[in-house]
Symmetry: D2
Subunit: 146 residues, 4 copies
């Protein structure tokens, strides 16, 4: 089962004076991948929040392995790497189109919370959807092995 993939084109706004994508902006690309995965499995995150279910990030990591520049087309691969009672872990790999060079790899952990920001169990129908996605990456890549 393949990881989910979505493309992003690097915006000028996302570069910095070094001429590369600013390191903090990779976490936005991760969010694009995460949002896309949830929408594709049938559970858009905007819908979850509309129902009073929030998934704030409690841990985020990124390794920067290559350079991404303005107008580069990048592919963000996202997969669910762990499901626990109240937590979801997403893993990511970002590659440049063309040479397929690995630019960045990362992991984020999110906690399921109600609208008062108290941790709650992941709702059953979401758990089923994400568990079906678990291990959904044929070629785990460096982010997976941490």
């Amino acid at each position: 089962m393949p990881a989910h993939e979505v493309q992003v084109r690097v915006r000028y706004a996302e570069t910095d004076k070094m001429g590369l994508v600013y390191y903090g902006n990779y976490f936005t690309y991760f969010e694009v991948g995460r949002t896309d995965l949830l929408r594709r499995v049938g559970m858009p995150y905007s819908q979850l929040e509309a129902e009073g279910i929030y998934f704030p990030v409690v841990d985020a990591q990124c390794k920067y392995l290559g350079a991404a520049r303005y107008e580069d087309l990048l592919t963000v691969r996202t997969w669910i790497s762990n499901v626990r009672r109240t937590r979801l872990e997403f893993s990511y790999e970002i590659r440049r189109d063309g040479d397929q060079a690995l630019v960045a790899a990362g992991v984020t952990t999110l906690v399921c919370m109600n609208k008062d920001f108290k941790p709650i169990e992941i709702p059953e129908r979401l758990r089923e959807l994400v568990t079906a996605e678990l291990g959904g990456c044929g070629n785990p890549g460096p982010a997976r092995t941490r």
Copy 2:
């Protein structure tokens, strides 16, 4: 009566591959000036929102007159340039410290809304505070003359 002034130091994140502050980020500096002005006159914007009063921006303009670079210390001058029944207009000038070169000048118009995003009259105590600030800029500068 002088305009309100607040300093910001240019962050690496705010630069782009041209080596300058990205044009869209000046609107964030304007927001810093606006937030600072409201807090100093005794009506923090966070408190207004806590009371269900919102001021979304309906019009924003910026003229870019000079260059701001990473680590530059900038002074944002902000003043209330117009008060209407439901609208507030803020004007801004951004200068580099040191040579005092004018880097950017702009204007934003905000509409007072309730939590359902319907336009409402500016609350009386806020109107009094901002009217007292009106014309509060000794040296209006280019942004003012538009």
Copy 3:
């Protein structure tokens, strides 16, 4: 001749505590439209910069006419609204997919500069390409009439 269109999906990162897209981020969407237009007419902006030709923005305006929210799919329509010796003017309209509501409309003016940031004439082959695009919007919309 139609304006150029490109889609963007609103990212969580681009929203603010009001639940809407932060006003400054529309200028990033304008950049996405501008970048896309130049690439489609055969003159990617990254290539122009690689040749030492820069187009910093000297004036930017945006009118906010509707609300855009997280996961909304937006269409950015971009057209060249004026070509002068050293300046290009781009106009933009942003509509929500689905109801086609106009969310924002704006104009930016860019000056052609060399790598020392001195204004220069727009290179002939670029002038030809953008002049061919001039007036390229069948239905000009509000941004056009300013």
Copy 4:
């Protein structure tokens, strides 16, 4: 020897629809702390880049431990937690003013590179300055113990 501290006030632009600081923006706060530390020890990062020495981030991590909201005043504590031949590690803690609640803690690793983005040894005078700062945190906090 105390860690370096610098304050940031949360901007509206930095919040997201959850009403909190967007998770990726903490890496900008880390950059503010890092920039401030280097400037205070007498080696502004803008000066290093002007001399052709770059420090791209190769690894970044953040744990999110509390909530930061619009207009909150935050203190970013930054210290050098490791110095190697070509690498510098910075650690960070971000606390809310007032209740001193720990909001976030993180670590970034930066590699010294020349202008062709090849790793090089950290220049001697910089090494001396940062080594003097090493272990400069009396109360290492959670970020340190990873």
